[in-house]
């Protein structure tokens, strides 16, 4: 099954709506709760990144009986050094964003920790595409 969500840059009010909706779906699909939690955290962190840094983004979710695949693509500044961005504590978030409790530099590490496979492609000045694939079976 396929799901689609749109994210607006700067819309912190609605950051987390997609991960919450995906959680609801996975519960109904009888996915073990530990697996659901990983998906939700990984997706939530991605959503927050798009809201904090990009102008807008799209989330495409595909679910089959064995795995969930999430593709998040945004239009935004892109990431100059993806490897550096993966380090714990590294952040380029503005003071404003950090004051809202986001941007502590844990986003990407959290995404990686909670996904079975993760891939980030980025073109500076254009945008970033994140692909997350998680197994749904125990």
């Amino acid at each position: 099954m396929k799901l689609h969500y749109h994210i607006d840059g700067g819309d912190f009010v609605n950051a987390g709506k997609a991960s919450s909706a995906v959680k609801g779906v996975l519960k109904q699909l009888n996915v073990p709760s530990r697996r659901i939690k990983r998906v939700v955290i990984a997706l939530y962190e991605t959503e927050v990144n798009v809201v904090a840094h990009a102008t807008q983004g799209e989330i495409e979710v595909a679910i089959d009986s064995d795995q969930i695949s999430i593709l998040v693509s945004d239009s935004g500044p892109g990431i100059a050094d993806v490897e550096k961005a993966m380090q714990e504590g590294f952040t380029t978030a503005s003071k404003e964003v950090r004051e809202m409790g986001f941007g502590a530099g844990m986003g990407q590490p959290n995404m990686k920790r909670n996904s079975d496979r993760m891939d980030i492609q980025s073109v500076p000045g254009q945008g970033t595409t994140v692909r997350i694939v998680n197994e749904l079976k125990d």
């Binding site: 099954m1 519960k27 109904q28 939690k37 679910i63």
Partner: protein, 451 residues
């Protein structure tokens, strides 16, 4: 068509009285687990989903949802008859009614001993401390005080069951503690009957079908509403048995307020939160599941507004009850006068076993089938009106779609689609009448004309 009511072995204290139920939608739309449907003009409770919170009971305009209780005369089977009282029983009376009068009333009704449940909260606290320190794997610890919340987490938030503090609630703990005390004093175990005076339905269910323990230490449950009436009658007619002195038990301020919202959380370590009301709790647990709040240490969750003061069997106004108990706690001469417990927390006696998740959300145990059903639900939602009128007998359009994929409802049950079908001549008026009869009872539609 599949039956809605499957026997699941879960004991519920809430029962629909068909003779009284007028088949409206009030209970169905307030149920936090969507456990109610209307069929043949009567509400039906789906057993595996019900968490006994009592929302339906509070919402019913004709008091058709009955809270089951033990026959009061049962107490007389025992020579030693113990009443276990929660503070809110006394709290709901106007302040001119002294605690002594309530005790005297209970003695007049036949109880030989009266113990206040909230006398054991320090023992509960010891259990909390031990569990949080030694066993809890991930923060936050979630209180097991409210049985409706424990069940809600089991059925709707299965990922959070390991956060539940596995310590018996004060009611069970008090039953065990006082039973031991009486037996130690040389009383015949067979002669002791312990009766819990309950402010809610969930407590009854948890005693009749305990979670995390094999059997309950309580011998029977007395509905607080019933007792309130009997006590008022005695007080009003002054028919009280006034012989002998009545010694009331001194409870610490902590104990007096423990069952109210905030009563537990203010005594726990770290960042603690108290949330009450089923809708509020559900909203917060949803958030917690999404791991947005990982720095909370302790969560006190209560099904009822204002905690036990808002229990469905509490007759007094909940805000006045809270106010009276707050005053009582403030007047208590320090903690020194309270009874000291001559026991320490003992896991074997006072702990709970692991609490199992039993999610009722999955559309099918088989993932592939579940995806198929989910896709069909989404397709159906495109056709359904989306105004959640509940006239189909299911609480929302989504619930109807889910019922349909489980073969428990049909698309023609939607009153909006019915009209389209009739216009397109795919359904006759007679057929529509027949369908509506299955949901709302035969001739319900014409009720207004027969008045």
């Amino acid at each position: 068509m599949k039956e809605l009511k499957e026997h699941t072995g879960f004991h519920h204290a809430l029962k629909v009285v068909d003779e009284l139920c007028m088949g409206c939608t009030h209970c169905m739309t307030v149920c936090p687990t969507q456990a109610i449907r209307v069929r043949n003009g009567k509400a039906i409770i789906i057993e595996e989903r019900c968490v006994d919170c009592g929302n339906c009971c509070k919402a019913c305009p004709v008091s058709a949802i009955l809270i089951e209780q033990d026959d009061f005369e049962e107490i007389f089977k025992f020579p030693v008859r113990i009443a276990l009282l929660p503070s809110v029983l006394i709290g709901q009376f106007p302040s001119r009614i002294q605690t002594e009068e309530v005790y005297r009333g209970l003695k007049s009704l036949g109880f030989t001993h009266i113990f206040e449940i909230d006398s054991v909260v320090d023992l509960v606290q010891q259990g909390y401390d031990a569990f949080i320190q030694n066993t809890l794997e991930a923060k936050p610890a979630i209180s097991t005080f409210c049985p409706a919340i424990v069940r809600l987490i089991q059925v709707r938030f299965p990922s959070l069951v390991d956060h539940l503090v596995r310590v018996k609630p004060p009611s069970d703990m008090a039953a065990i503690y006082y039973r031991h005390k009486m037996e130690a004093a040389g009383m015949d175990p067979e002669s002791i009957g312990i009766f819990y005076v309950t402010p809610c339905a969930a407590k009854i269910a948890s005693i009749k079908s305990p979670i995390g323990e094999l059997s309950s230490a309580v011998d029977g449950v007395i509905n607080m509403e019933y007792l309130y009436n009997r006590l008022w009658h005695l007080i009003a007619t002054n028919e009280m048995d006034t012989d002998g002195q009545v010694q009331t038990q001194h409870i610490t301020p902590k104990g007096i307020l423990w069952s109210l919202t905030g009563g537990e959380s203010k005594h726990q370590q770290g960042r603690c939160l108290a949330v009450d009301g089923m809708a509020n709790v559900t909203e917060f647990l949803d958030r917690l599941e999404e791991a947005e709040e990982s720095n909370i240490d302790f969560l006190e969750l209560r099904a009822c507004d204002e905690g036990c003061a808002g229990g469905v069997l509490i007759s007094g106004n909940r805000f006045l009850t809270v106010e009276r108990l707050n005053r009582k706690a403030a007047n208590q001469q320090g903690e020194g006068c309270a009874m000291r417990l001559d026991a320490a927390f003992n896991e074997e006696l006072y702990g709970l076993d692991k609490i199992q998740a039993r999610s009722m959300l999955a559309l099918d145990p088989d993932r592939k089938m579940a995806i198929e059903k989910m896709n069909r639900v989404e397709e159906l939602l495109k056709v359904l009106p989306g105004i959640d009128c509940a006239a189909c007998g299911s609480p929302t359009c989504r619930a109807l779609a889910e019922d349909m994929v489980q073969q428990r409802a049909e698309l023609t049950w939607c009153v909006f689609l019915q009209e389209l079908y009739i216009r397109d001549k795919r359904l006759s008026l007679e057929e529509a009448d027949e369908i509506n009869g299955q949901i709302w009872g035969k001739d319900r539609k014409y009720r207004s004309q027969s008045k």
